[in-house]
């Protein structure tokens, strides 16, 4: 990709999307590469290839995209689009992330409906479903090491995890009560721990 002409001579050359169309197309291409999740592709495209973000900026933006509700990659495209071109850029980013994949997935669903009575097709989807369940469980398990640096400590985190799993997967408690109850407990506990940490730092 050629460097943007406005940034070439400056000491900190900085790539950026050239237009809202550029944003839309870039996010479309990014999304269409993302089988089973877009995060890995987003990092490679936005940081390594396009260099719209440094690795540090990507991690920071990613953290924000993740704590806010909504699909993470869509949140990320919304935030980035907004930063460059305001709310129109945000729309362009989100539209890019969703339009083509949505059409594709509906075509897939319609195609599947045509063969849905075929036992082989049913079997294939059943097999993919069993794999997909594993993909999602593994995505969760791969995040567990990130809890080591959590201010609440690994023990409290694992206890919260276990309680959440039991409430949601086994007892089928509505999500809102889980988030308000266990989530509220987690936030209050983390707030306390952060306070202790700050006090300790001051004392030393």
């Amino acid at each position: 990709m050629p460097p943007s002409p406005t940034t070439t001579p400056s000491p900190t050359p900085r790539a950026a999307p050239r237009s809202k169309t550029d944003l839309f197309i870039s996010f479309s291409l990014l999304a269409l590469q993302g089988f089973g999740g877009v995060l890995a592709v987003a990092q490679r495209e936005l940081v390594d290839r396009k260099q719209w973000l440094t690795a540090e900026e990507f991690v920071e933006d990613w953290a924000v995209a993740q704590i806010l509700p909504g699909p993470n990659v869509v949140n990320l495209s919304l935030m980035l689009g907004d930063r460059y071109f305001g709310w129109r850029g945000a729309l362009a980013g989100v539209a890019g992330m969703l339009s083509f994949p949505l059409v594709l997935v509906l075509v897939l669903a319609a195609a599947f409906a045509g063969v849905a009575d075929n036992p082989q097709a049913q079997g294939a989807l059943r097999g993919m479903g069993a794999v997909a369940a594993g993909l999602i469980i593994a995505a969760g398990l791969r995040l567990v090491p990130a809890l080591k640096s959590n201010v609440m400590g690994l023990g409290a985190c694992l206890a919260l995890m276990a309680a959440t799993f039991v409430a949601v997967a086994l007892l089928r408690v509505p999500l809102i009560w889980v988030l308000l109850g266990l989530g509220g407990l987690g936030c209050i506990w983390a707030y306390r721990c952060l306070g202790h940490l700050a006090a300790q730092k001051e004392a030393s």
Binding site: A31, G34, F35, G36, V64, A65, L68, P69, G70, P71, N72, V73, V74, N75, M79, V94, M97, L98, P101, L102, L104, V105, L106, L108, A109, Q120, A124, L125, R126, G127, M128, G129, A130, A132, A133, G134, L135, I136, I137, A138, G140, V144, N150, M152, L158, M161, A163, T164, V168, A169, V178, L182, G186, C187, I188, A190, C193, L194, G195, A198
Partner: protein, 198 residues
């Protein structure tokens, strides 16, 4: 399957997704257990197998995982029309389902993200912001695991029940511990199912 949906129930579909939109901390997939509870167990607008199929199809296709939500709307719309055999009427109701579910799941969270991301970015060192991030982290992870669990537990008891659990366990292990490309796994699962092994 065939169901009928009143206008009020279509609205209920929209509001359920809209309320989950703001709860979807860590991605829409973490609200899948609640969608399953509401749509399948409580309302019976689609069956457990269709629910799993939507997630499997969305995982098999490129793009954000959130696309299983419009697929749910699509399936519910088709159920309400009595299937694709209903022609344009079926397609119309399916697209209505896509539109309502997508709008519901996207709009509230996007508006919140739009307004809050700048604020959060400016105040990322604030104690309350950090407490929220860290306090929610274990829940986000547990919700992912619970989603996978519920999908795995959806298998009908009369099919090759144990084999499917084994496939789920194996794919969990492979994704967790290796860097194998997800497409190979999905392809292998599809093949095993097609051949009737699982």
């Amino acid at each position: 399957m065939s169901i009928t949906l009143t206008a009020a129930q279509w609205f209920e579909l929209f509001t359920h997704f809209a309320s989950l939109s703001l709860l979807a901390v860590g991605g829409a997939i973490t609200t899948a257990p609640d969608m399953q509870r509401f749509l399948v167990v409580e309302k019976g607008w689609l069956d457990a197998e269709q629910f799993s199929n939507c997630i499997a199809l969305a995982q098999a296709a490129p793009g954000p995982n959130i696309l299983f939500v419009p697929l749910l709307g699509w399936t519910i719309g088709l159920n309400a029309a009595g299937g694709l055999g209903a022609g344009w009427y079926g397609l119309g109701l399916a697209m209505l389902g896509v539109f309502l579910s997508m709008l519901g799941i996207m709009l509230p969270s996007s508006i919140l993200t739009f307004t809050a991301s700048r604020w959060g970015h400016r105040n990322r060192e604030l104690r309350a912001v950090r407490a929220f991030k860290q306090g929610m982290a274990p829940l986000v992870i547990a919700l992912l695991v619970a989603t996978g669990w519920i999908l795995a537990a959806n298998h009908k008891a009369d099919t090759h029940h144990l084999a499917l659990w084994a496939v789920t366990a194996l794919s969990t292990l492979l994704v967790w511990k290796t860097k194998i490309h997800l497409l190979w796994l999905l392809g292998a699962g599809a093949l095993a199912g097609w051949m009737g092994w699982i």
